[in-house]
């Protein structure tokens, strides 16, 4: 069985630091956030991959290299 995730709480008035186990609700919230963040990452990486393909196609149509394209835009 995996260890229960913990949180560190630093009280800035008393200077006391506590290490506390996450509650079931906090663990569920964390999982929901993880799934949402992962979906966002997959979407971003798919967009980057699609852009890379599109860029390569444009360079091929123009008959220039990426370095030459950068030179034109500098």
């Amino acid at each position: 069985m995996a260890d229960t995730p913990t949180k560190v709480v630093v009280n800035c008035t008393t200077g006391v630091t506590e290490v506390l186990p996450l509650t079931a609700t906090e663990i569920a919230d964390m999982e929901t956030a993880r799934v949402a963040a992962e979906a966002e990452r997959v979407e971003r990486e798919a967009e980057q991959a699609a852009n890379a393909i599109l860029k390569a196609e444009i360079l091929e149509r123009l008959g220039i290299t990426e370095a030459e394209a950068k030179l034109l835009l500098s």
């Binding site: 995730p5 949180k7 560190v8 709480v9 800035c12 964390m30 956030a33």
Partner: protein, 173 residues
Amino acid sequence: MATTYSLIEANTLSSSAASVAFSSIPATYTDLVLRISARCADTGVYGGLKFTFNSDTASNYSFTVMYGNGSSLAGDADTAIANARAKFTITASNATADTFGNLEIYIPSYLASVRKPLSALGAGETNAATAYMGQNANLWKNTAAITSIQISEIFSTNLLTGSSFYLYGISNA
């Protein structure tokens, strides 16, 4: 120019944790600064941090980030999310071993009855060609004074042992 720059509290993780929180932040400064060195357990090269103020997890935050990795530059934004973000600022499991990202978050006028902007600039320190850095701008759409800040990793993985968190207060007089 700030006339004081005082350490309020600090914590270095002696074991991995899902989050680090500073609670009961004193209302005796003008601005707050967080300086963080962190590494997370995500499986990628980079990670990021998210921040919630006063336990507010409603969609009251907006952010914009510009990030780059040495060969390409890109951006991302959202206007209604559940936390402020410092994306592309820390290292993760596939970064060079024992390297940490470092970042600074500046929160001006944390006591003022206005919406709270904050900036976060950071970079991973992986010793490889593809290292990320991110410049983040955020807004917490709430006018309450900030009394607590919770910090966790964007992909909800653990923050690893050795990660350090320093909260400073700046006074203008």
